[in-house]
Symmetry: C2
Subunit: 216 residues, 2 copies
């Protein structure tokens, strides 16, 4: 039980606001990932969050406001995963770390992956500035690293851009095409072991495909 007079630390403005917003954001991610933008109603978001519909309108300007907030959240996560790859000395190590991180993201955040994918599939109208701003420079930096490795003979001459696409497509597939993957593997729900097997195969093929040997 909390004593009203006990020290409560510095006053946090908008603490209730922050928590309520977080609850609604998580509800929105869940709804958008399954039903898409148009298929998601403000009512359904409110229902999942367990609040009246008007509250969602109070915290966000409108439906588009909720959606862009969700997208922003996802891009932040993406940045984290993306930044996980650094200029390391060994290409094989970097690729392994990156593939593991991407597969793990598909396992732990499938809904976020699906919202991102649906946005892409619709032509990415709300990702224009992201794609043109930080994304391009980030990608260019990574690609130049690969090109350097290829130049000095550290790996085979594999077009880095398309190699990236291969890694993205292969890893995100496990979140985005989950029904097909689940059915193909003859399971009910994807378990840790399935993701481990996925990571193993992707790393095996990509590394050998680039003329690299796995780091021990």
């Amino acid at each position: 039980m909390i004593n009203r007079t006990m020290p409560r630390g510095p006053y946090k403005p908008g603490k209730i606001r922050q928590k309520s917003q977080q609850t609604m954001l998580e509800a929105a991610i869940q709804a958008f990932s399954q039903y898409g933008y148009s298929g998601t109603s403000m009512q359904s978001i409110a229902d999942i969050a367990g609040v009246p519909k008007a509250n969602v309108h109070y915290y966000f300007k409108n439906k588009l406001g909720v959606y862009t907030a969700v997208l922003g959240n996802i891009l932040d996560m993406w940045d984290t995963v993306l930044n996980d790859i650094t200029i390391a000395d060994d290409p094989a190590t970097v690729l392994c770390r990156y593939i593991d991180a991407k597969i793990d993201f598909s396992r732990t955040h499938p809904q976020e992956s699906r919202v991102f994918a649906k946005e892409m599939l619709s032509g990415a109208p709300h990702l224009q500035e992201f794609l043109q701003a930080k994304y391009t420079t980030w990608l260019d930096n990574r690609l130049s690293i690969f090109r350097h490795w290829i130049k000095v003979g550290k790996m085979d001459d594999v077009e880095p851009t398309h190699l990236m696409f291969m890694i993205w497509g292969s890893t995100q597939h496990y979140a985005d095409f989950a029904p097909q993957v689940t059915q193909s593997l003859g399971t009910d729900t994807l378990q840790q072991e399935h993701f481990d097997a996925a990571a193993k195969t992707v790393k095996q093929v990509i590394l050998r495909g680039c003329g690299l040997t796995p780091p021990e």
Copy 2:
């Protein structure tokens, strides 16, 4: 100018019907691929097809009827591509043919690929019977071929199921994530040369990754 009395060939019942339906189906594919099921209105389909909204209702039972018709069309195309792979003597040749066909499908039918992807992302509620029926047996047959090749040492021990996922993810990426791909390649629209480069890289990595050498 056409003479009313000239021979017109055998009477084709429902010829108008067939043509009108085709026009509406193409309009529907375009709409669904961009806006998804919920985001597509019967009005928008009618507008794209250039007919009154009521006509769409006349030719299809309801909105779900249009959608399932579109999905059915796409699955037929998929089958064609899938059946392109046969029990050939050389794994490398088969893989090359399959990858080329998949990349070409992404180039020539990006909208169909996106509708399929959106359905998957939503949990594939309308593909249950397909996934459980012909798809599973088709996949099992292909996988057993790969397992045989691995057993007799014709290729490396790469888990066939996950190898399939890699090929699907890598090739469909060019249709499904077109905005990102386009931006990354620094182009306005994807050209034949881009798809050629994509196919080349995917084949290079997959083949080497499986311990195979390209067929000359």
